[in-house]
C-alpha cells in the first residue's frame, strides 16, 4: 500500500498512526503481517476493478445516475403483487429503520442492545396478537422460508413425511419447499376447485391419511381467494392426526379472523406489507407462530427473543431463547438452519402496527377490500374480461382473465406499460390452466381515478 493513500472510510491509513502501530507490533510493513499465507496462494497483481470514485459527490452522481434508469412503482401506476406489495408507508417507519443504532447493531445481548431486543419482542408480541398465538419467532427470511421451515417442523413433530399443500401455491414457494424440504418432506398439491379457487375438499378427504404431517392453506391464497371453510379443513387434518398450517398476509388480519380461532396449529406469513418498502423484494420479512408448547418450540429453527425478569425489582431484559435448538449450537445435528434474517423489517413492522392500532389496521383492510372489489366490478364489465376468475371472497388480489379479448397478457401489459401502467403479474406460464390470466393487486394506495385509469387503458388496449 502506498503511503499517500488515505481513504475517508479507513482510519489508520494516515502515515503517522500506521507507523506507530507497525512499530508496536514489531513489523516493518503491513505486508509482513501476511506471512501466514503461502506465497503460492498470494495474488501477485492488483485486482482488476474499476478505478475508485473517491469523491462522495462523484460516487453519488454515478450511482444515482444508474438508478435514474429505473422507474419505481411510485413513478408509475402499478397493480403488481403476488407476494410483494405496494402499500402506504408512514414516515415514522422509515425514520425508525433509518436510525443508525438499529441499522448498524447486530449480535449484542440485552446489556448492550436492550432497545433492539425490546423492539423485537414487541414485533413478536404484535404478530402474536394478529394471529392469536403465544409463540412467535423473530423474523424469518420471507414467507417461502417460513412455510418450508414450518412444514419441516410439522414433519418432525408428527413423525410423518407426506405434506398436503394448497394447489394455488406460487411457483416461488413451491420451488423453495422442494429444494430445502426435499430430503425431508413428500409434498403434494391439493386440487383447487376451478370455479371457486377454494381447496377441493373431496380431494383433501381422499388424500388425507395417518401418514400426513400437515395440511397447508393460505388465507388469502396466492390468487387472493379467502378460503372460508378453514374450520372444516382443520377438522379433517386433525382427525387424521395432521397439523393445520396456515399462511397469512399480515395486513389482512384487521379484517380476517385470527388463524388460531379456526384451528391453526402453526401460522406462517409475510410482514412486508406492514410499513416496509418493497426494495425489489428486499423488503420481505417472514414469521412463524404457534402455541407455546415445548414440543413446538423445540422444533423452531430460528432465533426467538424471550423476555426475562431482571434481578433488580421492576426490571426486565431479553435474550435469545433456547439456543440449543438452533443450528448455531447443533451444527450437523441441526434439522434446519438459521442465520442473519430480516430483523430491521421486523422492527419496522412493530412501528407500523403501533401507529395503526386495532382501528387503523381494520380500516386499512376494509379500504383494501372496497378498492379491490371496485376494481373487480369495473374490470368485469369490460368485454372479454373476467374479474375475478373465481367465485369466492377475495382480499387485495384477484385474477383477471383476458381470454375473451383475444389478446395475451404479455401484449396487454406491454401496451399498458407504454401508458405508464404496470399491469398485473402474468400467470399464463405459471398456471397454464388459467389461460391468459394476470394476478392484480389493489391496495390502499390506489384511488378511484387510478383504478378508473387502469380500466380505461385496458378497455382501449383490448378493444
Amino acid at each position: 500500500m502506498t503511503d499517500t493513500f488515505v481513504h475517508p472510510y479507513i482510519p489508520n491509513t494516515g502515515p503517522a498512526a500506521r507507523q506507530a502501530m507497525l512499530d508496536a507490533i514489531g513489523v516493518g510493513s503491513a505486508e509482513e503481517l501476511y506471512d501466514a499465507i503461502p506465497a503460492s496462494l498470494r495474488l501477485n497483481r492488483p485486482l482488476n476493478l474499476p478505478e475508485p470514485i473517491l469523491s462522495e459527490r462523484d460516487l453519488k452522481r454515478h450511482v444515482a445516475g444508474l438508478l435514474a434508469q429505473n422507474t419505481p412503482v411510485t413513478g408509475a401506476l402499478s397493480f403488481l403483487g403476488g407476494g410483494c406489495w405496494q402499500h402506504d408507508i408512514p414516515a415514522v417507519c422509515d425514520e425508525i429503520n433509518g436510525r443508525a443504532e438499529f441499522l448498524t447493531a447486530y449480535g449484542g445481548d440485552t446489556y448492550a442492545d436492550m432497545g433492539k431486543y425490546q423492539a423485537m419482542f414487541e414485533f413478536q408480541s404484535m404478530i402474536g396478537e394478529l394471529v392469536g398465538m403465544e409463540m412467535v419467532s423473530a423474523p424469518v427470511y420471507d414467507w417461502s422460508a417460513a412455510l418450508t421451515s414450518a412444514l419441516m417442523m410439522a414433519s418432525r413433530i408428527t413423525g410423518r413425511k407426506r405434506t398436503l399443500v394448497t394447489g394455488s401455491l406460487s411457483n416461488e414457494k413451491w420451488s423453495h419447499l422442494n429444494n430445502t424440504g426435499g430430503p425431508w418432506l413428500d409434498p403434494e398439491r391439493l386440487a383447487v376447485n376451478p370455479q371457486t379457487g377454494l381447496i377441493d375438499l373431496d380431494d383433501l378427504r381422499a388424500r388425507i391419511s395417518s401418514d400426513v404431517s400437515a395440511v397447508y392453506v393460505e388465507v388469502p391464497s396466492y390468487f387472493g381467494v379467502v378460503e372460508h371453510r378453514m374450520a372444516e379443513i382443520g377438522r379433517i387434518a386433525h382427525d387424521a392426526g395432521a397439523l393445520l398450517v396456515v399462511g397469512v398476509d399480515a395486513i389482512s388480519l384487521g379484517v380476517l379472523a385470527a388463524p388460531a380461532d379456526y384451528g391453526a396449529d402453526i401460522v406462517v406469513g409475510e410482514a412486508q406489507a406492514l410499513g416496509v418498502h418493497m426494495l425489489y423484494s428486499g423488503g420481505l420479512c417472514g414469521f412463524i407462530a404457534s402455541r407455546d408448547e415445548a414440543k413446538f418450540v423445540a422444533e423452531y429453527p430460528y432465533l426467538m427473543v424471550s423476555i426475562a425478569p431482571g434481578r433488580t425489582e421492576g426490571e426486565w431484559g431479553f435474550g435469545w431463547a433456547a439456543m440449543e435448538r438452533t443450528s448455531y449450537d447443533l451444527r450437523e445435528a441441526a434439522p434446519d438452519y438459521t442465520g442473519t434474517t430480516q430483523w430491521l423489517w421486523g422492527i419496522t413492522a412493530a412501528v407500523y402496527l403501533s401507529l395503526l392500532g386495532p382501528q387503523g389496521l381494520r380500516e386499512v383492510g376494509e379500504g383494501i377490500l372496497q378498492r379491490s372489489h371496485y376494481a373487480m366490478q369495473q374490470l368485469d364489465a369490460l368485454p372479454g374480461v373476467k374479474a375475478p376468475v373465481y367465485d369466492a371472497p377475495h382480499f387485495k388480489e384477484f385474477i383477471v382473465n383476458f381470454d375473451g379479448t383475444g389478446s395475451t397478457v404479455a401484449a396487454i401489459n406491454k401496451r399498458l406499460l407504454d401508458k405508464g401502467i404496470f399491469g398485473g403479474h402474468d400467470l399464463s406460464a405459471e398456471f397454464p390452466d388459467l389461460g391468459q390470466s394476470a394476478l392484480y393487486c389493489v391496495t390502499e394506495v390506489h384511488t378511484q381515478s387510478d383504478i378508473d385509469r387502469l380500466v380505461a387503458a385496458i378497455a382501449e388496449v383490448t378493444a
Binding site: 405496494q86 438499529f102 441499522l103 447486530y106 417461502s144 407455546d292 431479553f318 434439522p335
Partner: protein, 520 residues
C-alpha cells in the same frame, strides 16, 4: 495513558408499547376511500364470510404518533449500533463502517420502490448494478458466476451444499457420495447446511497449530466424499497454509470444495478462492462489503461458483445481451429458489457503491488495515495477565483472534461472560465469545475491522486491562455487572426454561400475571 470514558447508557425504563396508550387513540389514518368506490362497494365487512371475519380486534397499542415515535427512538437510544461505538467486539461478524451516502442511495425510490416482477425495461439501472457487481466479485474471488438471491450467509452456504448435491446427483454418484467434510473452527453452518441438504458431516478437529493437519483429512477422505465446506482463516484468525492441499486431496477423491468466505475481510485482493482450488464460495455482503447488519438483517449471501457449476445457481440470474439487461428464468438445472424473487438487492447496491469507492488499491487498504488493527489490538491484549492466546501457529493472525480468559477465571473466579457484561459499562459492545463447539476455553473473539482508529483500539484495550485489574481487586463488582447499562443483570436462565420463557406479551402475561406486567 488512554482515558476510559465515564459512560452510562441511556436508561429510559421504557414500558412495553403493548402496555401503553389509551383506547381510541391512533398514530396514523389510512387513505380515505373515494366516494365513488364507497358507493359501489358500501359494506366491506359483508365481503368476508362471517366465519372468517375478525371477531375481536387485535390488541395492538392505541397511541398518537408522537408517543409511538418517542417510544421507538428511546429504544434505539438503548442500542449500541456500530455507528455509535467502535464495535471490535463481534468477532466473525466484521462490524465496519457503512457509508452514509450508500444509505441515502438505497433509500431513493428508484431502489426502494421497485417491485420484483416489474418489466425489466423499467429496472435497467439496477440490473446493470447487479451485473457489474457480479463481475467484481468474480474478479475478487476468481469465480465465474454469482447469485445474490440468498438473503444471508447461511442460505448461500446451504445453496452451495445443494449445488454439491445436484452435481453428484447428475453424475449418478449421490447415493455413494453422502459425506461432507468440515472443520471445527468453521462456522456451524458449514456443518448444519450440508446436513439439512441430506449429507452426513465429518468435522476435523484442530491440531497444535490451530488447524487440522493433512493426515486428519486424508484419514476421512474416501469414495464417499461429496465435498469440503470450510472457512479460512478460521474463527481463530489463523490461516490454514495447507488449504490448497486440502482442495487437491478432496478433488482427487471426486469431491467439490466450497469456501465459506464470511471471514474474508483480511484477505481481499490478497488470495482468492478459485486460486486456492475451491469450486464454490460465498461472501457475506453485510460483513466484508459494508452492508449494515440491520440488528440481524436483511443481508445478502453472495454465492459464487465456477462456470461448470453455474447452471445450478438459483433462478433467475441477470444476463446481458450487449444492449439490455434482463432476468433469465430459463434455468432448468437450477437447484431451485433460495428465497422468493431476487433477495436483498439493497445489499448489492450498497456493496457496489462500496467497491466503487475503493477500487483495487482501496480494497487492499481495507484488508491490510483490518489485519494491522487486529495485530495491534492483539499486541495490547498480550500484556493482560488474565488473557491467553491459544495455538502456536507460525505467522501472524489475520483479521481476528479468539482469546481465552481461562487464566483470569483460574486466578479470580471471573469468567468470560462476566467480562462480557462488564465491557458494556465502558460504552463498548458486548463481545462475541465463540461458536460451537467451544474449544478455546472462556473465549472472546475480537475483530477490529479497518473502520476503527488507533485510539479506538487503545480505548478497547484499556477497558479490558481495567476489567482484568478489577477482577483481581473486586471480583464481585465484575460478576454483578453491568452497572452502567440500560438494564441490570437479568435472570438469564429464564430464557431457556419452558415455564419461564415468553416470546410474546400475551405469553408473558399468562406466565407472570397481569400485575407483574404492569410493575415491569
Amino acid at each position: 495513558m488512554t482515558r476510559l470514558r465515564n459512560f452510562h447508557a441511556a436508561r429510559w425504563d421504557e414500558p412495553l408499547i403493548l402496555d401503553k396508550g389509551t383506547p381510541g387513540e391512533r398514530g396514523y389514518i389510512p387513505p380515505a376511500v373515494d366516494a365513488g368506490i364507497a358507493a359501489a362497494v358500501p359494506n366491506p365487512g359483508s365481503l368476508i364470510p362471517e366465519e372468517m371475519r375478525r371477531s375481536e380486534p387485535p390488541r395492538l397499542p392505541e397511541l398518537a404518533q408522537p408517543q409511538v415515535l418517542r417510544h421507538f427512538l428511546r429504544l434505539s437510544q438503548m442500542t449500541l449500533g456500530c455507528h455509535v461505538t467502535p464495535d471490535a467486539s463481534l468477532g466473525t461478524c466484521t462490524m465496519k463502517y457503512s457509508p452514509q451516502v450508500n444509505e441515502h442511495l438505497t433509500r431513493m425510490p428508484e431502489m426502494s420502490d421497485l417491485h420484483p416482477l416489474q418489466d425489466d425495461a423499467t429496472t435497467q439501472g439496477m440490473l446493470k448494478i447487479i451485473y457489474d457487481f457480479e463481475r467484481m466479485l468474480c474478479e475478487i474471488s476468481g469465480m465465474d458466476a454469482f447469485t445474490f438471491q440468498p438473503a444471508g450467509g447461511s442460505t448461500a452456504i446451504f445453496i452451495n451444499a445443494c449445488i454439491i448435491r445436484a452435481y453428484h446427483r447428475d453424475r449418478g454418484e449421490l447415493e455413494q457420495r453422502n459425506e461432507i467434510i468440515s472443520t471445527a473452527f468453521s462456522h456451524p453452518i458449514d456443518c448444519a447446511a450440508p446436513s439439512v441438504a441430506g449429507f452426513r458431516v465429518i468435522t476435523l478437529m484442530p491440531g497444535p497449530n490451530g488447524y487440522p493437519d493433512l493426515d486428519a483429512l486424508k484419514a476421512v477422505v474416501s469414495e464417499r466424499t461429496a465435498g469440503l465446506m470450510m472457512t479460512n482463516p478460521e474463527d481463530t484468525g489463523i490461516f490454514n497454509p495447507y488449504v490448497k492441499e486440502f482442495t487437491r486431496i478432496v478433488h482427487e477423491a471426486g469431491g467439490l470444495c466450497a469456501y465459506d468466505q464470511a471471514n474474508a475481510n483480511g484477505i481481499l485482493g490478497m488470495t482468492r478462492a478459485r486460486d486456492t482450488g475451491f469450486d464454490l464460495c460465498q461472501f457475506n455482503l453485510h460483513k466484508t462489503f459494508s452492508v449494515p447488519h440491520g440488528s440481524t438483517g436483511g443481508s445478502c449471501g453472495a454465492g459464487g461458483c465456477t462456470a461448470e457449476l453455474a447452471k445450478y445457481l438459483p433462478s433467475p440470474m441477470v444476463v446481458f445481451d450487449g444492449e439490455r439487461y434482463s432476468w433469465d428464468y430459463d434455468r432448468p438445472d437450477s437447484v431451485g429458489k433460495s428465497r422468493s424473487f431476487h433477495g436483498n438487492l439493497q445489499a448489492v447496491l450498497r456493496s457496489y457503491a462500496w467497491v466503487m469507492a475503493h477500487g483495487a488499491e482501496g480494497l487492499r487498504a481495507v484488508a491490510e488495515t483490518a489485519v494491522l488493527n487486529n495485530n495491534y489490538l492483539k499486541s495490547m491484549l498480550e500484556e493482560i495477565p488474565g488473557i491467553d492466546i491459544l495455538y502456536d501457529s507460525p505467522g501472524h493472525r489475520l483479521q481476528e483472534v479468539r482469546y481465552s480468559w481461562q487464566p483470569l477465571l483460574d486466578e479470580t473466579g471471573v469468567n468470560t461472560e462476566d467480562v462480557r457484561r462488564r465491557i458494556t459499562d465502558f460504552g463498548l459492545q458486548g463481545y462475541f465469545t465463540s461458536h460451537h463447539p467451544v474449544i478455546v476455553p472462556e473465549p472472546m473473539t475480537l475483530e477490529p475491522s479497518e473502520s476503527w482508529s488507533k485510539s479506538d483500539l487503545e480505548e478497547y484495550g484499556a477497558a479490558l486491562t481495567q476489567i482484568d485489574q478489577e477482577a483481581r481487586t473486586d471480583p464481585e463488582f465484575v460478576k454483578s455487572s453491568p452497572h452502567a447499562s440500560s438494564v441490570h443483570r437479568i435472570h438469564e436462565e429464564a430464557i431457556d426454561s419452558p415455564d419461564q420463557w415468553a416470546m410474546t406479551w400475551r405469553g408473558w402475561k399468562r406466565k407472570y400475571g397481569e400485575e407483574r406486567v404492569h410493575s415491569a
